[in-house]
Symmetry: C2
Subunit: 137 residues, 2 copies
DNA sequence: CTAAACCTTGACGTCGGTGTCAAGGTCAAG
DNA sequence: CTTGACCTTGACACCGACGTCAAGGTTTAG
């Protein structure tokens, strides 16, 4: 299939597909005329890549773990890559905690931070000026 | 206090402080020589701003809610802004769910995605080439 | 006088996944 | 032949919170 078809099939733009290839996330053959030719499995590959992007992984990480995603690869040298995925997972756990902490912080501000006088943030209502004529230079 | 002092007091770079001012997050007077002069409360303001940044808020949102952070402001017209904070909070909740979902996805891939044949991602081991001589142009 | 440590504004660089435009080649239909 | 849909590579634009360098002014210490 050509790039336009793959694009329609996956909902990913042609631009993105070329980017994936450039990043080593996607393979393609070339027709005599220079057009990219994709294997049908490319649809799944793109779906996987999208999945990983949605999972918050960077293209570098995805590139590294891709060789492990295929069933044709041995699993021997994949332990390191699996470790990397594990690492990413741990990072996600950390992110979960971070987000939760942020929410808690906001909850705190929502609960009492804006209604008591413990925050010395008075007189900020006019803060929105870039600089009132800084001084004649 | 001058910008360097405020920087040291808050741990925020001078560049960032000027950026905050430019974004309407921080106020300063000007000395005759053009130097910025900060009120002592600025330390708290910067801390608050940092807090909000760490909470994931954008400078725009922070600018909007800042007038409500001071105890000298009425709370009447703040309901809308509080609603905005609430909105951000809700967004964080959504993010929590998203992250959790991502982690679950990765867990899934870690558990079985890489060891069975349900994922048709074979033969990707050589995906890491930008393009093997695209064709003579 | 001079060095050094401050300060000023302005402007460009960063990162990453994509949109978008430019300038062209290819191919099938009319 | 022409049109138009498709493809190619290349390159700039974007967002956001700054880092960093440039080119200068001010003040203090020696």
């Amino acid at each position: 299939m050509r790039i336009g078809e793959l694009s329609k099939a996956t909902g990913v733009s042609s631009r993105a597909l070329r980017y994936y290839e450039q990043q080593g996330l996607l393979r393609s053959e070339r027709r005599p005329n220079g057009y990219r030719e994709y294997a049908p499995e490319s649809v799944e590959v793109v779906a996987f890549v999208q999945d990983m992007f949605h999972a918050g992984l960077s293209s570098g990480v995805i590139r590294d773990i891709l060789p492990c995603a295929g069933d044709a690869r041995p699993r021997g040298d994949c332990t390191a890559l699996l470790a990397r995925v594990q690492q990413v997972r741990d990072e996600l756990v950390r992110q979960e905690r971070t987000i939760a902490e942020r929410r808690r912080r906001l909850d705190s501000y929502l609960a009492d931070g804006l209604s008591d006088t413990s925050h010395p943030l008075a007189g900020l209502s006019a803060a929105g000026r870039p600089a009132p004529d800084p001084s004649p230079r």
